[in-house]
């Protein structure tokens, strides 16, 4: 047997390897919330966002929206960065004052390449999301999300040693 080009390995797995129905699992329930309502997150995340901007910012003015996401078994947050066209996972930090968890997040998704149209397109990827999911986050920005504008500060020139 030869493998034909397979776009969806799970579909392939489902149809070829057994007589199972696709995706019988129900979608997990989750809710969006403002991160200011959870003590784990800083009340004023500007400092954390500024650290991100200083490191990864490409423009002087940067627009962010932060939205919390409660899911079955826990909660997290997504940080949408308009200019970089990314969403960054911000898991609740142990120390709300410490920008580490945002700066060194384990997931930063680029909306131009890490988003597929439909849920089934994600197949075996461990990080990709689908359009509906992103739409949900961006929609929540307008309702419960907190918006910030962060200006990138000019880099200080290192003083030359005389």
């Amino acid at each position: 047997m030869r493998l034909v080009p397979i776009r969806r390995p799970v579909l392939f797995l489902a149809t070829l390897a057994m007589a199972a129905t696709l995706c019988a699992e129900e979608k997990p329930q989750f809710q969006y919330f403002p991160i200011s309502t959870v003590p784990d997150y800083p009340r004023s995340p500007e400092k954390h966002l500024a650290a991100l901007v200083q490191r990864d910012g490409k423009t002087t003015i940067n627009h962010f929206c932060v939205v919390g996401l409660r899911y079955d078994g826990g909660y997290t947050a997504w940080v949408y960065w308009k200019e970089n066209n990314t969403i960054t996972l911000w898991d609740p930090p142990a120390d709300s004052d410490d920008p580490f968890t945002l700066l060194y997040s384990r997931r930063t998704l680029h909306l131009d390449k890490d988003v597929v149209p439909d849920e089934v397109d994600i197949s075996l990827s461990n990080y990709m999301v689908h359009e509906e999911y992103v739409k949900g986050i961006l929609g929540a920005c307008e309702t419960v999300g907190q918006k910030f504008v962060i200006r990138k500060q000019p880099q200080r020139k290192k003083q030359e040693k005389k």
Binding site: Y75, A94, S123, L124
Partner: protein, 302 residues
């Protein structure tokens, strides 16, 4: 004044600590700085396995006594003792037995990841990239350890058990598993490259930025001046233990674990993959009965 060691230079804030025995890891070849305060004008230092550079530190206004900055550099690994006694000038002014202060120092080897071209190096980096680190509020070392072991199960199962279900005709290498990707055009005609594991499509050619959290974990594990150091050292060492083990721990699920997804994502992998459990910020998936019972397509063993 009672002579004593400090981890911070005396500043305007008073550190009411008089501890003279401190266990502290020193990464070789990194230098660790401690401070010693006393009313001794000069000091004499004995420190096997260490080179110690000492210098008096400017004292804050109104502070009576002397503060010395001691930069310790480990020369070999193991436990040792730093002893500080009054120097010749100070000793001359002390009648009777001369006091001394001792500081226990443990010199540990620097924590490094295995070569990125090795299987161990790949696994260690994946584990550190994916599993929640001590920085997170709900971090528990035990949880992280379970997640690391389960992630190893996933990688091993895709490689050895049912590689046919993951688009391999023959047993793949670990690198094959890590780099696996497909390209397809979506309904809008846009072409996508779909990687099974984030950031690994071109491994080991991965930019530092893509795996920045891995580098940060290792740096913190070696940074003795950071209060988080020991938790990160435990975390990184746990990843190294899982990565370097000849065999994975027994798979907890009857059909085997075959995937993980960052907890909190709305989308389960779907198809025959069903959620088995959540640990360390990752949702793990096994395969259903039908997939498990299916005949391997290319001679993969179960």
């Amino acid at each position: 004044m009672t002579p004593g060691f400090r981890l911070k230079k005396l500043g305007t804030e008073t550190i009411p600590e008089t501890t003279v025995h401190i266990h502290k890891k020193v990464a070789v070849p990194a230098t660790r700085t401690v401070y010693f305060q006393s009313d001794w004008e000069d000091i004499a230092i004995t420190a096997p396995m260490l080179t110690v550079e000492s210098a008096p530190v400017k004292q804050p206004k109104g502070y009576k006594g002397y503060v010395f900055q001691l930069d310790l550099t480990g020369l070999a690994t193991g436990p040792t003792m730093l002893t500080v006694r009054p120097g010749p000038k100070a000793a001359a002014a002390i009648k009777g037995p001369k006091p001394c202060s001792m500081l226990k120092v443990t010199i540990l080897p620097e924590i490094v990841l295995p070569d990125s071209n090795s299987d161990e190096g790949l696994i260690a980096r994946v584990l550190l990239h994916e599993v929640r680190t001590p920085e997170y509020g709900d971090y528990a070392f035990e949880e992280a350890s379970v997640a690391m072991n389960w992630a190893r199960n996933v990688l091993d199962n895709r490689r050895f058990r049912r590689f046919d279900l993951f688009m391999f005709k023959r047993q793949p290498s670990l690198l094959d598993v890590a780099q696996k990707h497909t390209t397809f055009k979506d309904k809008h005609g846009k072409e996508h490259t779909l990687y099974q594991f984030e950031g690994l499509g071109t491994y080991p050619n991965v930019s530092a930025a893509e795996m920045k959290n891995v580098g940060a974990c290792v740096a913190l594990a070696n940074d003795d001046s950071d209060p988080r150091q020991s938790r990160y050292a435990d975390h990184v060492n746990a990843a190294l233990g899982v990565a370097q083990a000849a065999k994975a721990q027994p798979d907890p699920s009857p059909h085997g674990l075959y995937a993980w997804l960052t907890a909190g994502y709305i989308t389960p992998p779907g198809g025959s993959l069903i959620k088995y459990g959540t640990h360390g910020g990752l949702d793990f998936y096994t395969i259903d009965d039908a997939a498990f019972a299916s005949k391997p397509l290319y001679g993969a063993r179960q």
